[in-house]
Symmetry: C2
Subunit: 301 residues, 2 copies
Amino acid sequence: MTPFPDWIGAHAARIERALEAALPPADERPAQLHEAMRYAVLGGGKRVRPLLVLAAGEAVGAPGPALDLAGCAVELIHAYSLVHDDLPCMDDDVLRRGRPTVHVVFGEALAMLVGDALQAQAFEVLARIDRPAAARMVAELAFAAGSRGMAGGQAIDLAAVGEAIAPDALEDMHRRKTGALLRASVRLGAMCADVAGDAAASSKDHRETAACLDAYAEAIGLAFQVVDDILDVEGDAASLGKTAGKDAQSSKPTYVSVLGLGESKRMAARLHAAALEALAPLGERARRLREIADLIVLRRS
Amino acid sequence: MTPFPDWIGAHAARIERALEAALPPADERPAQLHEAMRYAVLGGGKRVRPLLVLAAGEAVGAPGPALDLAGCAVELIHAYSLVHDDLPCMDDDVLRRGRPTVHVVFGEALAMLVGDALQAQAFEVLARIDRPAAARMVAELAFAAGSRGMAGGQAIDLAAVGEAIAPDALEDMHRRKTGALLRASVRLGAMCADVAGDAAASSKDHRETAACLDAYAEAIGLAFQVVDDILDVEGDAASLGKTAGKDAQSSKPTYVSVLGLGESKRMAARLHAAALEALAPLGERARRLREIADLIVLRRS
């Protein structure tokens, strides 16, 4: 089997091509908006979410073209959320992936429209997947992005600034803010093979596979955030590509501020183990998902 | 046949109930976000877009429950665009439908999240329609909302502030900014009956009906904006429920500023006639669409 770095390299390149094709050309009218959308999306990034779509889809034998589109859709949602998050009325961040943020380059008003247009683009791309589950996949992603998922988590985050927060409230916030979209990535990959998403119509084997993938997605969704919070304390701007120590400065509650650094690291290790255990019944076909779990927990940026 | 004011009253009430049901309850966590989403959507409004969905759907015999959901989806997109449009970095408006705008009541950051979450909610509602065309309907609405539709029109609008603009560039802007969503409303209504949206699979009769509806939607889409611009000059804040003369103050190009008041009124009359002519082949079943065209052009607010 291909070594993981080669798999990642080939699949990240494939996602880059798919994103490139999913976005309107930079010279199409309105050119400034399209140029800014491309700046927001094509400027690097780890592509963790689309890699999860591809790895989950490959674990269940989903067709490649559908996975590419689903991978683009989750990355477009992620990219839009970063653009809006960086705006002055939110986190007011000027640096992202080592480059000036969208509103710094293109202005606040256009940055807001970039986020709005990227969200619409995500659903358009997903709806055009030629699979019986396309509409259910849209509902899945919309739920993960909306007030019960990512946007809701951000609203809880806003309200929590400067407030004391209990560990379970912090977990609820992150389950929505970052966990929902990571979980949707895994589920959408499986739905491309019609595994998951329609309990009534699926076989026992499909339901069991879907349950394993859900447990995995749940664990890595939280692990991702815990590690992010650890890196915000231990990392530096050069390797993070964004301002380090930002959360502490803005008195946002983080796992490190609520649990302490040592307990946060133990929590990351426990979630890592839980993710790997969830995949055990799937055997060798879940290898890439295991390797992505390692990547998420052991990354340095 | 029911007189038009009774039809409007009954259908607007039906849309209000559907919107109420489509939005998360105000006491569901995160409660402030959900309360603000409800404030943004349930605060009145003419409901022109969902009424177009219902009227177009009824003209082609589409089932009511699907039309209710499609009507909600277009209104949620419209509502989100108003919330973002009113933000300080955009039009900086403090009054909408006679009440303080969302960011005035709930703050800028939450208002941005309200818009983001409403857009996701729109696609979730639409994707849950139990029709074969559900995924195609999502693609249709996403296209109308995105960079090639509404968001793109707003970007052109932004760039045009204080600039001279030719009549055809103004028309291109409005075709996207307001026209795209009005046109999608008519098309989604028809797609609920599987008319329009899939040229290969539809009958000659369906294609002809879809072409009539498209020509109608195109004409009323532009007429709506021309009348808006006329009312911005001639109306007053009390009946408009928003700040009058706002466009002129912010030196935004309008039909009135580009063509003059008299020519704008003649253009509205021509578009009104074109909309009615487009419906002629559909006979009596298009009656509500005709009446909505009258309403759009003859309204005073």
